[in-house]
Symmetry: C2
Subunit: 192 residues, 2 copies
């Protein structure tokens, strides 16, 4: 089981954004949609053993967390609009502090990073971390930021959680997930 | 200098597709747009030393080849619609068998795979190839297929061109580009 969580610092927390303008009206919701794709898709298949958490921190009613469960999701295609349509479907549904499944494999709750960290030991993906190829063992849960850096408050919450880097260049969050999946796939399959 | 070329077997070759329906009306143009993103984007930066060729093979007036030059492209954002808008801008412009630059860093010509192979020694990325991590040297030009396999006719054209694989799982074309970039970045930076 692998989990990815991505912080969407400006990501809209109601359904008023337009699927035709995910970067602007969605508060860079396009970044999060690409992370759903990178987390869950293989060629002509889904990674059924992966969960992807989108932590939406933007206006007007955040934080909210949306969970895409690879084991249960349906009606998801790789294009950005497909993930965005599912986000739009669940985002205005009344919810509390526990996950409520609104579409197959897509759940939502109130609460953000602090709650997520209390439940799972997330490692952090950023360019200051240890090279994933050199790490003896890799954990099963990884946290990334969207196009913005982690804030001081977020870094304080993350404390001494282990940090990993996927390479010498600073990559988009979705590209980072893809490279990390490759490293995990290789380890699982004896391809190192 | 690195080049990626992606075959879009069904990709529409006029501007009649809708930016709101890239998978359907565009003939899986969404796949090609994600490959442009994977080829050219770093976090907050572009890979200026990369060219990305989209070989459009669908109806009604193919084949056509669109070239995105990392060194010159502007007005390109990472979301699928942004690359699609540039494709739409250039696709109906009259062109011959030489590249005509229609938008900054975005050119178009008639002709498809055969012409491209006559100009550059493309290696092929598919799951039967040599592990990229094990390859002593890697070439600078890579060919991928979209969501469909190479046809027999394409495989015949490719002959004995070298083949590489990025890992044990069968990945989307854009994910494959991202993993390959990581391997190239590591070799360039002494991160192996």
């Amino acid at each position: 089981m692998t989990a990815f969580a991505i912080l969407g610092h400006l990501a809209r927390t109601d359904g008023s954004f337009s699927i035709n303008d995910l970067p602007g009206s969605g508060g860079r919701m396009d970044v999060l949609c690409r992370c759903v794709n990178a987390s869950l898709f293989l060629s002509h298949d889904l990674r059924r053993d992966v969960d992807c958490y989108l932590v939406l921190l933007g206006p007007p009613s955040g934080p909210k967390t949306i969970k895409f469960s690879g084991s249960a999701v349906r009606s998801l295609s790789p294009d950005e609009r497909s993930a965005a349509a599912l986000i739009k479907k669940v985002i205005d549904v009344p919810c509390g502090s526990e996950f409520r499944e609104v579409a197959d494999g897509v759940s939502i709750r109130k609460r953000g990073l602090e709650r997520l960290l209390s439940e799972m030991p997330f490692a952090v993906l950023d360019e200051t971390g240890e090279d994933v190829r050199k790490a003896k063992d890799l954990p099963g849960a990884f946290l990334l930021s969207d196009h913005l850096n982690f804030t001081d408050a977020e870094n304080a919450l993350l404390g001494s959680n282990p940090r990993y880097s996927v390479g010498p260049k600073c990559l988009h969050a979705d590209h980072t997930i893809t490279v990390l999946h490759n490293e995990l796939d290789r380890r699982m399959s004896g391809w190192e």
